[in-house]
Every structure is written in C-alpha cells, then in structure tokens.
C-alpha cells in the first residue's frame, strides 16, 4: 500500500460517518448511541448506508477505470466515459424505458440495470472487435493499436449518443421523456441494497481485472514499441482493459446513470502523491474516486434546493472547470 492509498483510505474513513449523518434530516450521533430515535436508525440502515456504500463502489470503479485508461492511452486527458462503454450502457438503460411495456412485470425492477449492462457489454464487444483487429503489421508501429482504440471508442460513443438522443426525441410519452432525462443525469437518490448487490461484485471484479493490467500499463510509459520489447502482450492488455473498464463503468451506469469527470479528475489528484507510474495509480484512484463521489453525493443531499441537485450534474459542474484548469496548466508546464 503506497502513501497515496493511505491518504485516501484515511480520508474515506473520515468521510463515511460524516456522509451517514448528513442529509435533509441531520442525524445526531448521540441520539443513536443512546438508542433514542428509531427513525434515525431506519434512515441510516435503509437510506444513507446503502447510498454511501453505492457511492463508494461507483466512485472506486470510475477512479480505477480512469487511472487505467489514462495509462493505456498514455494521456492524462483520457476519461472512461469517452470510450463508448458508458454511453452504450446509457443507451441500454434508455432502451428499458422504451421497452417498458414489453418487459414481464416480474423483471421490471431489473430491466434498467440489466439492459444497461447489456449495453455496456455490447460497447465492450464492439470496441474489442474493432480495436482488436490490428494486423501484425499495424502492431509493428504503423499507426497501431492505441490510436485505433481511441477512434473506435469515439465512434461508438457518438453512435450511442446519437441513438440516445433519438430515443429521447421519440419518447413514447412525456413521463418516459422526463424519466430518461432525469436518469441520464446520474444520481444515487433512493438507491437500496438491491443496487449495491448488483454493482458491488461487478465493480470489484472490474478493479481486480484492471489491477492485472497494471504492470503492462507501466511498460507503455515508453511507448508501444518499447513496451512490446519488454514483453507486453498487446492483445492481452486490450482484453483486460476492455473487460475491466466495461465492468466498472458499466456497473456504475447501470445503477446510477451517467456520472462524468470522476475518472478524468481523480487520477490527477492522486498522481502527484505517487511515483506517477500507472500501476501506482489504480489502487489509490479507486479510493480517491470513492471519496469524491461520496463527498459530492453528501453535498448534493444537504444543499438547500427545492429538488435535490443531480449527482451527475454536480460532478460535471466541478469537473468541467477543473478540466479547463488542467488544460491551461498543461499548456504552461507540459505534463
């Protein structure tokens, strides 16, 4: 465990109890300790705790995926959302609003997350299919795998975006329209242990897969040719990355909608605390992502607004200016 992991783990330990107490109804820890209020215990167990756990899971997945994507693309401006998997998951979720009438009632509660996962899986398959088709010639450095991967991801992302927009404009009824739009803006409101049970194993598996790719990502620090000369297997790395990002990001979108900028921003917060190699970033970025989403979700809960600010919007409001600042700084000092 490196220094950055310790720092963000400690921060998480502080944030969790704060998040549990914060909300429209502030909970006084001494009430619960004294066995006072049954309501408070209920709020904690059924509302706040699953929501906090879900924030940690989703944030961890997005943070780890961001660190891995930046390592793979050798670019600090990479975000897992750019590469088609999150937009495809969103498209799958939007499809569930459309298919609502066709889905047997017993499945209704699961249709959205399952279709989102199917969307993420389709995105992964497309990405692997297109980016995996590098001939040995291309792998020899003539324009090669990573550029193709980026372009394939952008193509899938814009296709999914267009289809999602189409689904919105042709929404079957105004209710579905507002549901879709609200859902696309990502939130953890009213999530329960059901969503936790769905997302936790997928995100954990995804982070484990990304951890397997860590040393290969380090090799890429010196470029594709040098990395291959050090024994990197590009096909294996691509597979690990597509599966790892697909599981973490797909599961996140399936239960919480689109939550942007976490994967972009978090590795930048972590990098200065490490030796800057991708392998040193994945673990701490998972912890830092958990902190960021947990903190942001707690803040949107206590903001005195008529309706709760959507988490996805809040994070984009924080993330976009940060991104701009990053671009300016890079122009000034390089990486």
């Amino acid at each position: 465990m490196n220094r950055a992991s310790l720092i963000f783990a400690a921060l998480l330990v502080v944030l969790v109890p704060l998040s549990l107490l914060a909300g429209r109804v502030w909970i006084d820890p001494f009430d619960i300790a004294g066995g006072g209020i049954a309501n408070a215990a209920l709020i904690l167990a059924e509302l706040r705790l699953p929501r906090a756990v879900l924030a940690i899971i989703i944030g961890a997945g997005l943070g780890a995926a961001g660190a891995a994507m930046q390592g793979y693309l050798r670019n600090p401006l990479a975000d897992p959302g750019l590469f088609g998997i999150a937009p495809m998951a969103a498209l799958g979720a939007v499809a569930s609003f459309w298919l609502g009438a066709l889905i047997p009632p017993a499945w209704a509660a699961w249709s959205l997350p399952l279709l989102a996962l199917i969307g993420a899986g389709t995105g992964m398959a497309l990405l692997a299919l297109i980016a995996g088709r590098t001939s040995s010639d291309a792998a020899g450095g003539a324009g090669g795998g990573i550029a193709l991967f980026t372009l394939a991801g952008l193509m899938i992302a814009s296709l999914a975006g267009a289809l999602t927009a189409l689904a919105i404009t042709l929404a079957p009824n105004p209710f579905a329209l507002s549901e879709i739009v609200m859902w696309l803006n990502g939130a953890l409101t009213d999530r329960s242990w059901r969503e936790v049970m769905l997302a936790a194993p997928l995100v954990a598996a995804g982070i484990a897969v990304l951890a397997l790719a860590a040393r290969s990502l380090d090799a890429l620090t010196l470029g594709e040719d040098a990395a291959r000369s050090m024994g990197l297997n590009p096909a294996r790395l691509l597979a690990l990355l597509v599966i790892g990002v697909g599981l973490t990001v797909g599961a996140g979108v399936a239960v919480a909608g689109i939550i942007g900028f976490v994967g972009l921003v978090v590795p930048h917060l972590v990098r200065p605390l490490t030796d800057r190699l991708p392998s040193s970033l994945i673990g701490p970025s998972a912890l830092a992502g958990a902190c960021l989403v947990l903190a942001a979700d707690s803040i949107v809960r206590v903001l005195p607004l008529v309706t709760e600010l959507r988490l996805g919007i809040a994070l984009s409001l924080i993330g976009a200016p940060f991104f701009g600042w990053l671009l300016l700084r890079m122009r000034r000092v390089g990486l």
Partner: protein, 256 residues
C-alpha cells in the same frame, strides 16, 4: 547468434526489407546504415522480434524468434526505440527500473549497475522532464541495460546527442560488447546492433557494417570494405572519400 534468414518484412502492405540474410555474432558491434527509407528501423524491429516476418525468419540461437513467448524474448533482447516519448514524468530511477519488467523482479543490483554504468546516480531522483537531451538518452539506454539483455538493439541512439555524449555512449556500447556479463572477463559480451546515420562513427567504431538500400543489403562486412567509396556512391548517390588512418577516418563527400 541472432540471424535473419531470407527475411522479408512488410509495413503498410509494402515490403520494407527484402530477402535479407545476415548472422550477427555476440560480442561485436554491428552498425546498420543506409539512406533514409532504406528499411533500417524496420530491420531492427524485425531483429528485435517486434515486426513479424512476412517470409523468412529471425533466429535467436537456432530457434525462431517468432516462437518465443514475449517475456522470454524480452529477457534476451533489449530494444531502444528511435523516438521514445515518455508518457509520465517519472523519476530517473523508476524509469530505469522499468527495464526489469521482463523479469518481473525488482532487480535492484541490475538497476544500480545500469545507473552506475551511465553515470546517472546523481540524477536518480530527478523527474525525466528536467533532464537534458543527453541525460535523457542515457536514462533510456540505462532502462535497456537494466534488463540485462544478451542483445542490445538501438535505433539511432546517437541522433540527439552532442559529440561528447556520442563518444561516451559509443565507449559504453564497446564495453558491453567486450565484457562478458557478470564481469568474468571471458567469452563474448553482449551483442550490440545500432542503426546509425553518421558513417564516420560506423567506420571508426563498428566491428561490422550492414548497408541497406531499398530494403536490400548492398554491403555487409568490416567497415573498411562495407563502407568503401563505391558502396557509398551506390547507396547514397554521393561521391565520397575517406581521409585519415583506420580507426580515425573522416568522410569527405560531394556531388556525384
């Protein structure tokens, strides 16, 4: 022995190396020279096992390189690319330690030896963004050396260096070739294969020179014969003559 046998390499659907046969011996410095676009870098990639032969083969100690598992190949052959851009601003020490990736160990002794050999100890904690061009070239070579490969394949390692740094790197390549690994002092050292643009450096410092033109070998042998004036005329279309004595020659070239 690292040998190309009737090697044909293709890039972008076009042949870049055609029917090339050459067996390289460890303990020597082989220079690959030729005009721009002759296929030098492609040949080096092919010899490193990073560009799959379209026909023919590259053999390492009698076995086809293409059949080696990537890590086994990486342990035997170290490759230094021509324009290595470094994605992350890591410290010198950590960058050199990446050379141990094929072995999946920390290889502290090998990393220290590589840092020492290229006089990088004072820079070990410096981020690579704060290095000069010469320092950066030494760090990148140290990364290759840290992997303790039996073969060092370097694509224009001298290109960005000033004269003093060129000479110190050449001296280092010579030491690699002359000294057996482990410092026993017996038997051949590492095989060194470098792509060079400066023909005088190839003439004065290489043990053997391969001259490529349009993907074909037009000369192969000791520098005095492989870089004779008629070969230079054929390869580069330039009239040239060598001045000075063997080992300290200078090239004077003009229009044909």
């Amino acid at each position: 022995m690292l040998a190309a046998e009737n090697l044909i390499l293709m890039r972008g659907g076009k042949p870049v190396v055609e029917s090339l046969t050459a067996a390289l011996t460890p303990g020597t410095i082989t220079a690959i020279v030729g005009p721009n676009g002759a296929g030098k870098s492609s040949l080096l990639l092919g010899l490193a096992g990073l560009l799959e032969p379209a026909a023919g083969s590259v053999m390492l100690d009698g076995q086809a390189l293409a059949a080696f598992p990537p890590r086994t190949r990486a342990q035997a052959i170290g490759y230094l690319p021509q324009t290595p851009d470094i994605a992350w601003d890591v410290a010198v020490e950590n960058l050199v330690a990446l050379g141990r990736l094929p072995w999946r160990d920390r290889g502290t002794a090998a990393v220290e030896a590589a840092l020492g050999a290229l006089a990088l100890e004072p820079l070990r904690n410096r981020p690579v963004s704060q290095l000069s061009g010469g320092e950066r070239a030494r760090v990148l070579l140290a990364r290759v050396l840290a992997g303790e490969p039996r073969w060092i394949l370097a694509d224009e390692p001298l290109a960005a260096l000033d004269l003093a740094h060129q000479l110190s790197l050449i001296a280092y390549f010579k030491a690699c070739a002359r000294v057996e690994q482990g410092g026993g002092g017996q038997g051949p050292g590492q095989g060194v294969v470098v792509v060079l643009h400066d023909l005088a450096i190839a003439m004065n410092h290489a043990d053997r020179v391969l001259v490529l033109k349009d993907g074909r070998l037009i000369a192969d042998g000791p520098p005095e014969t492989a870089l004779a004036a008629d070969v230079i005329a054929q390869g580069w279309g330039v009239a040239a003559r060598w001045l000075g004595d063997a080992g300290e020659r200078a090239l004077v070239a003009g229009e044909v």
